[in-house]
């Protein structure tokens, strides 16, 4: 039977991706432009025996998904800028305690209430540094409706496999835009579940990695399964109990940071578009990458050898990809719907090997391909 193609929005693709990945619990609070996600899951999740709850606020929603994850369930919430700000303290709790969960942030114009229905990419740095204290985090930024589906699945997989909260950064454009999609069959995409303990309950320590089949990733028991463990937001030992021992504190903090370092290659994902012979580099992500791709095609028609490096995994940031690009191009242009956030990482990773320029917009309109083209022509003219 031929597979049926559908025309759906990005938020709907996120719902379908979550279901494909095996979501069992969703908690949220209504906020534009993410609300189609809870609406979709309210209809569909109970069909699969899962639970969707609309909580009293954004903070509660983040708390509830952590609770459900500790009860062994694949959990997700979705929000936008203001709600993402409110969730930050509990995102830190999840990061510190290595609680698998997916946080969708459909970025909208900010700061503050900003533009609820206007696009933005203003939360890139907040995704990395939004909660207090040094902490590990993963953030993914798809740029099309089919990719929202696959990246939602990947967000769950990374989160479950490595015990880390994963932020899925969408933006208003791709969340509300509709595109053609053919859903993958069951089994077509990998679906990963978290490691469960193999030791008996009396030997279980929630942050012990000694015998873990995945180095640095502690197997995770669920509440109510006979493993009576403790979890706290305080600095803790590998048995989960609070400690003021500086040596133990430092060791645990190093481990959760080093864990991402160890597995970053499994988390990285970029797309190279016409980069082989590129003389001009564009580094882009999310909806801006759509304009960037168009710009590359147009420039090529005009004889300018442009190429695009698209970041699908934003955090951890893959330095090498930029560094390699910086060595061979005349300059790099970074289009972003903000004052220039990921460009800071691009500049850092370029290590001065080439110049890096931003194309930025904060007027709640999309970046047009011609703006990128004009910027590149202007720069070429100046060389």
């Amino acid at each position: 039977m031929e597979k049926k193609a559908l025309l759906i929005s990005g938020n709907e693709a996120c719902v379908e991706g979550a279901l494909y990945a095996g979501i069992q619990f969703y908690a949220g609070y209504p906020i534009t432009p993410s609300s189609e996600i809870p609406e979709g899951l309210a209809r569909k999740l109970p069909k699969y025996g899962g639970v969707m709850i609309q909580m009293e606020d954004e903070i509660a929603a983040m708390a509830a998904i952590i609770g459900a994850s500790l009860a062994g369930k694949k959990s997700m919430t979705a929000t936008s800028g203001p709600g993402f700000s409110l969730k930050q303290e509990n995102i830190g709790f999840a990061s510190f305690n290595e609680i698998p969960c997916v946080i969708v942030n459909v970025m909208r114009g900010g700061p503050s209430t900003g533009a609820p229905t206007g696009p933005s990419q203003g939360d890139v740095m907040q995704a990395r540094w939004g909660t207090h204290g040094d902490h590990p985090i993963v953030a993914l930024a798809p740029n099309s409706i089919p990719e929202i589906f696959t990246e939602t699945v990947r967000a769950f997989n990374i989160s479950e496999k490595f015990r880390i909260p994963v932020i899925l950064l969408l933006d208003e454009i791709i969340a509300h835009m509709r595109e053609r999609i053919i859903f993958p069959e069951k089994g077509e995409l990998e679906v990963v579940d978290r490691l469960k303990p193999t030791v008996p309950p009396d030997q279980y320590k929630p942050f012990d990695v000694t015998n873990s089949p995945l180095p640095m990733v502690p197997p995770m028991a669920a509440y109510g399964t006979g493993y009576r463990f403790h979890v706290t937001g305080l600095n803790h030992r590998i048995d989960g109990f609070p400690t003021n021992n500086g040596e133990l504190i430092e060791k645990e903090l190093h481990r959760i940071m080093d864990k991402v370092e160890l597995y970053k290659k499994d988390m990285f994902k970029t797309e190279a578009y016409m980069l082989d012979d590129a003389e001009i580099g564009i580094v882009a992500y999310g909806s801006s990458a759509r304009a960037a791709k168009y710009a590359v095609n147009e420039l090529r028609k005009q004889g300018v050898k442009a190429g695009m490096l698209r970041y699908i995994t934003i955090w951890p940031f893959e330095d090498n990809a930029v560094e390699k690009l910086a060595q061979k191009v005349k300059f790099i242009v970074v289009p972003e719907l903000n004052f220039g956030q990921l460009i800071l990482e691009v500049e850092r990773a370029a290590k001065g090997k080439t110049k890096v320029y931003g194309v930025n917009r904060v007027n709640i309109e999309i970046i047009h391909p011609h703006e990128i083209i004009e910027k590149i022509k202007e720069l070429l003219h100046g060389i």
Binding site: Q24, F25, A27, R43, K44, L45, P46, K47, G49, V51, I53, M55, E56, D57, I59, A60, A61, A63, A64, I65, I66, G67, A68, S69, L70, A71, G72, K73, S75, E89, N90, F93, A222, Y223, G224, T225, G226, R228, F229, H230, V231, T232, G233, L234, F241, P242
Partner: protein
């Protein structure tokens, strides 16, 4: 035979952090006696807390335990309870944790009638942070952030719970250990959201700036001022000034959230 608290306490976690004269340890004992009396399996109990002195309690218990962020315990507990309906979920919270920063979760858990038991360790003060005014501090009392006497009218935790729709609401004191144990038993077995306002004493942060100052005197006050609801109902309001009315204020049988979700929402969705 002496009660074996060891059965429920995690090895190596004691001594607890609570100050001499604090009532929290007494309430913890009542909680353990209640759990023992109900013959519950430790594997089937989750104890969740936020931030504050009382919030350290779960760490001592050999159960499924979670020490979360300030005020948010009920929201974390909601995720646990909804996805594992087999668990008895108990939230321990201070008065500030439950009714100030966690006030929104308090009223909504009550409205929702979700199957969680909330024990409010109500000592009228922020103890852990050093004696700041709480939403439960009596008018005129001295706190480090109300050095000239409190002008911020206090919440009545029982009325708050009742008004928000909790289906089991009770009050006791840390002095009344037998009553606390009995009430906790009923609260845990209640189908829906249950709240117990447990009047407790903080001699270190409340007592030392107010009267009485000493722990035994504060406890004596709990004993002397307590009046059972049935007796209080026969008194005039002015006769009840400063009294602690104890007993069960609300006990209603209404649909509870998790039950309703699993029994109505899921079948409806699956029939479509």
């Amino acid at each position: 035979m002496a009660f074996e608290y060891e059965k429920y306490i995690r090895k190596g976690t004691l001594p607890h952090i609570w100050c001499p004269g604090c009532g929290h340890g007494i309430v913890m004992k009542s909680l353990l006696r209640a759990i023992d009396g109900l013959k519950l399996d430790k594997n089937d109990i989750a104890v969740v807390s936020g931030i504050g002195c009382a919030s350290r309690l779960p760490g001592y218990l050999d159960m499924n335990t979670l020490h979360t962020t300030h005020g948010r315990a009920l929201a974390f507990a909601t995720g646990i309870r909804l996805t594992n309906p087999k668990l008895k979920v108990i939230v321990v919270s201070g008065d500030g944790d439950a009714t100030a920063i966690g006030g929104n979760h308090f009223i909504h858990a009550a409205r929702r009638n979700i199957e969680i038991t909330l024990l409010v360790f109500n000592n009228s003060i922020y103890g852990m942070t050093g004696g700041q005014v709480a939403p439960t501090t009596p008018l005129g009392a001295i706190a480090t952030t109300m050095p000239y006497g409190n002008i911020d009218p206090p919440f009545d935790v029982v009325k708050l719970a009742e008004g928000a729709g909790a289906t089991f609401v009770a009050r006791t004191t840390s002095y009344h250990t037998a009553q606390t144990e009995q009430l906790i038993k009923q609260a845990i077995m209640h189908k829906g959201f249950s709240v117990i306002d447990i009047i407790d004493a903080c001699p270190v942060q409340f007592g030392r700036r107010n009267k009485p100052k000493e722990a035994p005197d504060m406890m004596q006050l709990q004993k002397d001022n307590a009046i059972p609801l049935q007796l209080a109902q026969k008194k005039k309001p002015e006769e009840l000034t400063g009294k602690i009315i104890t007993g069960i204020f609300v006990k209603k049988d209404l649909p509870s959230y998790t039950d309703t979700y699993y029994n109505t929402i899921i079948p409806k969705a699956q029939a479509k």
